[in-house]
């Protein structure tokens, strides 16, 4: 009897466990049942139009960037531009040989792909000695540095080449070598010799000079040839006024001479839940028609495929949004919420900025106080410009700045 019970108990236990395993493994959930009542969740697409977008003039720092620009061009849309480059070579190291008959060449590396102006034109430059002390860390694009136009130390003309060696006059080289020989060379050199200004002589094009790859070659007739790096590099820009900007658009310059700003995204009333946000995109339309108007076939502006939406205290710009400031240097502790990158789509002429993380954060914990939104182009020393449709009533309704938010929404209540 007891044995029978035990045997059957074991059998039932095995049967039950087996049933669990078989039935559990048979799970195959599908769409059955999803339509028995009105759906309580749905994918929603909300469009918000940015209100009160305006332009802000806050010229950027122009030194210590990847490029320094030099050249001149009369842009039919954005006005005349004259960019003057400023460079200063480093001193040779103590082991380098400097003979009396040495020659110095400035080996200029150019980024031809980012020329601004008539690509077929010849652009001539004269090199003068800078006559005032300056620091590339502090110079801004609208600053002016004086140089001695009576002390020309070299000249060169850029046509189609991407590298050019420019001989620096022996008078200036002689001054330069003096500082290499003194015991307190660095501080004296900083204070007394100010470097060279690269000044455009004609209006042809503006060329980005690759700061990191431009160096100074010192050739000794009877000793080694060596190179010294660029110690300082910057540029300034003089821009003439333009009357060609359409009223429905605002220029966007990489130099921050004109950036776009607005005060809020306008998320109130959207009934968004942070975890339900799948995609949020800020879309800016470029006025491609106006940008192309009046441009000759061989004239180009440097294309910019990126843009940024930055959150910043308006009282502290441009320092808090400028790439020259360590806070905003990629990889140097930038808060990703404060700087949202966007990309340009040539298909429809839009800048699309992914602000999913930003919107999620704002929905979750309200917008940060005391900030405004700024749209900038990357400032790497290349002069680039775009023209963006604003929320002006004169702008086509479909091309005004907007935010499109795709989200999963609770429609049950």
């Amino acid at each position: 009897m007891y044995s029978s019970f035990r045997n059957l108990s074991s059998f039932c236990l095995v049967l039950f466990v087996g049933s669990i395993l078989v039935l559990s493994s048979c799970e195959n959930p599908g769409s059955v049942g999803s339509g028995i009542t009105k759906p309580k969740a749905e994918i929603s697409n909300d469009t918000l139009y940015i209100q009160n977008m305006s332009a802000e003039q806050t010229p950027s720092y122009s030194g210590q960037l990847q490029y320094l620009s030099a050249g001149q061009f009369d842009d039919p849309l954005f006005g005349s531009l004259k960019a003057t480059g400023f460079v200063k070579p480093a001193l040779p190291s103590s082991g380098d040989t400097l003979t009396n008959d040495l020659k110095m060449l400035m080996r200029v590396r150019l980024d031809k792909s980012q020329e601004y102006g008539d690509t077929l034109a010849s652009q001539s430059f004269s090199i003068y000695e800078i006559s005032e002390i300056w620091r590339d860390k502090a110079i801004k694009v609208n600053d002016q540095l004086s140089y001695d136009e009576n002390a020309k130390v070299g000249s060169f003309t850029v046509e189609q080449e991407d590298s050019i060696d420019v001989e620096i006059s022996s008078d200036w080289v002689q001054k330069y070598t003096q500082y290499a020989d003194t015991t307190s060379s660095d501080s004296l050199y900083q204070l007394d010799l100010h470097g060279l200004a690269i000044v455009p002589d004609n209006s042809g094009k503006i060329i980005p000079i690759d700061r990191n790859n431009t160096d100074f070659i010192i050739q000794n007739a009877e000793a080694d040839t060596f190179a010294v790096n660029m110690l300082q590099g910057a540029y300034t820009l003089q821009r003439g006024s333009s009357s060609s900007i359409p009223a429905n658009s605002t220029p966007l310059h990489s130099t921050y001479e004109s950036i776009l700003t607005f005060s809020e995204l306008g998320l109130d009333g959207l009934n968004l839940q942070a975890s339900g946000i799948s995609k949020a995109e800020l879309i800016l339309y470029e006025n491609t028609a106006a940008l192309g108007q009046g441009l000759a076939a061989n004239v180009s502006r440097a294309n910019e495929s990126r843009t940024y939406l930055q959150l910043a205290d308006p009282k502290k710009i441009p320092d808090n949004i400028d790439p020259g400031i360590p806070l905003n240097t990629p990889g140097a502790g930038v808060n990703p919420l404060l700087k949202n990158p966007g990309i340009y789509s040539a298909v429809d002429g839009t800048y699309r900025i992914d602000i999913t993380t930003l919107v999620t954060s704002i929905v979750r914990s309200n917008p940060p106080q005391g900030i405004e939104y700024f749209i900038t182009l990357p400032n790497d020393g290349v002069i680039k410009s775009s023209l963006i449709y604003t929320d002006s009533e004169q702008a086509p309704a479909s091309m005004r700045p907007k935010i499109i938010i795709t989200s999963l929404k609770d429609t049950g209540n």
């Binding site: 599908g30 049942g33 028995i36 009105k38 946000i277």
Partner: protein, 406 residues
């Protein structure tokens, strides 16, 4: 672990779970109209008055749902803990106590769908494939304490008070094959508590038509329960690493559960055989949910009727192997508490039960097997084939009383 059950448990606060123990389930009954001395039961508080042995009961169950709707099909399985009960004699055979924890409703489902959405317009138009999954879990559970009093050899009454705890989680997940879209989710969490109470009466009439026969009749009334509930929206971000609560979406409200009246008659022609029929009425049309009033129109009054029999051959002192067990069989029809698109979501269920007695004590193991059909394919609704197995361990004599003569 299998954790999705009937697709109809999406509605309200889940699908109602019958109070029957496994033995009664094996007959398609609730267990109101008869009493088993060695098997605990929650069905009728009046039965607790005749408690002689300390009884403990606990079990698990697994149900599989093969659902079809149109050309779609799905298979879901749900493993869950069944009721637990401790039943103690205070005055042996006169007054007994019962403490229990049992499910009242269960929300357990998982549905998924895929669709293509065209978002935006003009140059911004984007064709997006969306996978949407909806998972529900939880339900209403009852922690109950009750007393039964056998007033006379023929009549017993009982009362039970309970606290009902509601805890439900309804999660939605959206996924997109397109990498520019992040997965999105949110969950609606509902919680709350309410007080319930119910009364039961049981009458037994021996020697009605023949010697040693027994006619039993039971009646229970379960009063409406108002649950003070809170509903909040939550979700996860950072790949599920951070849970957030949308405070602005938190709402409060009452959920009013309906009254239930159950009754039944059993007849024991002999100690070995019993036939019974039982039914109940539940006023689901009075169900109210202030948190989601849009669903209230789906609920209709529910009727359930079952008939079953059990046979205990060992009572006849038969000595074959198969005579050592308890056998049960039955069927039930449940009109359901839902009416969707004009169609009642009814359930027809067939049950088999097997009881295994311990040779050394009065403890036993009850096993029930069920097969049923729920719902309809009309009006694009879902029809489910239900397979269920439930196992309960019935402990008798534990701790409190051991017969002097074994």
């Amino acid at each position: 672990m299998a954790s999705s059950g009937s697709v109809y448990s999406r509605l309200g606060i889940g699908y109602p779970i019958d109070i029957a123990n496994t033995a009664a389930r094996g007959m398609g009954l609730e267990g109101i109209s008869y009493n088993d001395t060695f098997v605990g039961s929650l069905a009728n508080p009046a039965h607790w008055g005749s408690t002689v042995y300390g009884l403990g009961m606990g079990g698990v169950e697994l149900q599989s749902y093969d659902a079809t709707s149109g050309n779609s099909s799905a298979t879901n399985s749900n493993f869950s803990l069944a009721q637990f009960q401790l039943q103690l004699p205070i005055v042996r055979g006169k007054v007994g106590l019962s403490g229990s924890f049992s499910p009242v409703t269960q929300s357990s489902f998982k549905t998924s769908s895929e669709s293509t959405r065209i978002l935006g317009g003009g140059s911004l138009q984007d064709t997006v494939n969306v996978g949407l999954e909806n998972r529900g879990s939880g339900g209403l559970n009852r922690a109950e304490l009750g007393v039964g009093w056998q007033i006379s050899s023929r009549f017993s009454v009982g009362y039970a008070a309970s606290v009902m705890f509601l805890s439900m989680n309804n999660k939605y997940f959206a996924t997109f094959p397109q990498s520019s879209y992040r997965p999105a989710n949110f969950a609606v969490e509902t919680s709350g508590a309410g007080f319930g109470n119910r009364f039961g009466a049981y009458a037994r009439f021996p020697n009605v038509w023949r010697s040693k026969d027994l006619l039993g009749a039971g009646l229970t009334v379960e009063f409406p329960v108002t649950i003070d509930a809170e509903q909040k929206n939550t979700g996860t971000i950072n790949g599920g690493g951070t849970t957030i609560v949308d405070e602005s979406a938190t709402t409060d409200g009452n959920i009013r559960m309906p009254m239930k009246i159950s009754g039944g008659i059993s007849y024991h022609p002999s100690n070995a055989l019993m036939v019974a029929t039982e039914g109940f009425y539940q006023s689901w049309s009075n169900y109210e949910n202030e948190l989601d009033p849009s669903e209230e129109s789906y609920f209709v009054d529910r009727y359930k009727w079952g008939v079953g029999m059990q046979y205990f051959p060992y009572v006849t002192e038969a000595n074959t192997f198969l005579s050592n067990f308890k056998y049960r069989v039955g069927a039930s029809y449940d009109s359901g508490h839902l009416k969707l698109e004009g169609e009642r979501i009814n359930t027809l269920m067939f049950s088999l039960g097997l009881g295994l007695r311990s040779p050394r004590s009065n403890s036993s193991v009850d096993l029930s097997l069920e097969y049923g059909i729920r719902g309809t394919n009309s009006m694009d609704l879902a029809k489910e084939q239900i397979w269920g197995v439930r196992l309960t361990l019935n402990l008798a004599e534990i701790m409190f009383f051991r017969p002097k003569l074994q």
